[in-house]
């Protein structure tokens, strides 16, 4: 079990990082978007390793099925593929910032003593997740409803923005 998870983790991590780098590197936006899909997909794989089965499915559904497709659609609508995705003037600074962030976080992660519980939690998370979301006391009913309103607002906003006057 452990080795299996370890193997999958390293493969997924490699794919994820490589595809994220490809998104940043590639000049062809359409291909970059396809690598983004791959990245999202490997994130879903990581979720499976972490025992978050519901989230994994939701990740595929929302990110791969909806967001990625939306992005591809936007790419086709904006027709910027010929120009590609060049890097800006602050490329070097951006690189430094990214590197700095990475180093800092890594240091923090390594030096912190996480009180991690290694044994595997009870498998299916779907119903317990629903409990956590909707149970009376500690639930997230209000945020959940607000999220729905946010989505509605976003949809209407998008329609208003894109609508021709």
């Amino acid at each position: 079990m452990e080795t299996g998870i370890a193997i999958s983790f390293w493969i997924l991590a490699a794919v994820m990082v490589a595809s994220a780098l490809a998104v940043v590197w590639l000049r062809d936006i359409f291909r970059a978007a396809l690598f983004l899909v791959l990245c999202f997909f490997s994130v879903a794989g990581v979720f499976v390793i972490l025992g978050a089965d519901f989230l994994a499915a939701a990740q595929v559904l929302i990110y791969v099925g909806a967001i990625a497709v939306l992005i591809i659609f936007a790419i086709m609508l904006t027709r910027e593929t010929q120009r590609g995705s060049p890097s800006g003037r602050f490329r070097f600074i951006a690189f430094l910032v990214g590197l700095l962030f990475l180093v800092t976080v890594t240091l923090v992660v390594v030096s912190t003593d996480w009180h991690a519980i290694t044994e595997i939690p009870a498998e299916p998370t779907t119903s317990s997740l629903a409990q956590a979301l909707f149970s009376g006391e500690s639930g997230f009913v209000l945020p959940f409803e607000i999220a729905a309103v946010l989505l509605l607002a976003a949809i209407i906003g998008a329609i208003v923005l894109v609508r021709e006057r």
Binding site: G65, V69, T126
Partner: protein
Amino acid sequence: MGVLEQFQHWLLGYWPSWAAYLVPAIVAFLVLSSFILLVVMAFIYIERRGVGRFQVRLGPNRAGPLGILQPVADAIKVLVKEDIIPSRGDRRIHWLAPIIAFMPALAIFAVIPFGPRAIFTDINIGILYIIAISSLGVIGVFMAGWASGNKYSLVSALRTVAQLISYEIPLMLSIAGVLIISGSLSMVSIVEAQSIPFILLQPLGFLIFFVAATAELNRTPFDLLEAESEIVAGYHTEYSGMKFSLFYLAEYTHAFAISAIVATLFLSGWKGPFLPPALWLMIKVFLVFIVLFWARSTLPRLRVDQLMGFAWKGLFPLALLNLFITAAEAIIWPGFPWQLLILNLLIAALLIVLWSGLFRVAGERVSFHRYGRGIAKGMALTFRHLFRRPITVQYPEQRLTPAPRFRGNLLVWDEERCNGCRACARACPVSIIDIETKKGDKGLIVETLEIDFGRCLFCGLCVEACPVAALFMSRDYEQASYFRESLVVKKEQFIAAEKRPSAYAYPDLEAEMPPQTLLAPPKEKG
């Protein structure tokens, strides 16, 4: 616990753990893909034969007994074709697209239960997995459309996104009704929860799901992605050979998957008396598929905006209402007694009638009594044609007798009677009759006669012009050649040829000719 896990556990006792993870997956993949391939072949065969019968044709019946090997022949034909990659396209994406289109369809089967325990892996979020996975196929189609460097394909790619994303929403919402009743996302428990098939408890949900699934499959009337008459073949216009066959396979695999999901969610899956569970499921799957291609052979296609309007203004609100009603029922009658069945049927009928009243077809509101009736009538008509005798014949074995006056492929020339007057050559509109004569003892002797049948109009004017009844039309109708020169028929060939004159321009010959085969009126069978 699914078959896959059991296999894994068994393997873990003997093999190292990594192999125990990998091997079952590979074995499952192989078993699944060969099984799916078989079913898909059956699908292709049934669809081609079935559509043939709907169209009063015979359908393919050449390869093997009753044409049963037709899918194999199709496969061989497709596989040996040249693989074309458009030079303006994106080579790698073009190569990758069919695989990405095919894999999700295959992956769905991991959670389809073929029996109480015959499931590869019974994950607890089975139906969510299916929805998530099937939304991946869009990307494959999209990639294909983009990478082809073809405008038809591009239009198809844009349509793909619009159509598949829109229909996913009513699809999910209609599944939600089932989930409320069964109280589980697992496919096995959904089947087990169906003491009454959910099609009866969720008639509206079933209809919405079926229509949305048809759209997801891009089958008629929602086959806008590959609309033959508009964008030629859409996203796979530029595909051939192996890659095209993968798309083809993906389409049918997806059809199989969707049929299996319909059977599982609404038709109580593997359940049924007497027969083994897997057989019951397959029977239901095939029934669903037959309805799919029945609709295909009856209905025309919607337009893009109508398609989107139908999804967003028709199916989406109905699906929401259905979800709402189901949720209310779950609170009021938590056990879902069978009496609900009548209520739900009534609600479904009422909602459809009310909703269709809001619809407009070409500016005029669809009247209540008509909505769906025209489609039902058409479906009934095609169904009746299923039992009519096909009008096509098996050509080389079954030959039709042409009319006595038939103007066939070669002329029949009577050397004895011909006096070389060249009336035929003068009458010919395309001047293909070449006659040279010389003076003989009694009048003219034909020295050379050459007729270029490659250019013949078969107008019969030469025969009509002949004053001495030496030229006849022929009754044969088979003529083919790889070389143009061999279509030029010379005097010797005319003399040597078997003489089968037709009665054209010679009515006195008509009496001895066999009667013409006429297309008989179709008889209802039995």
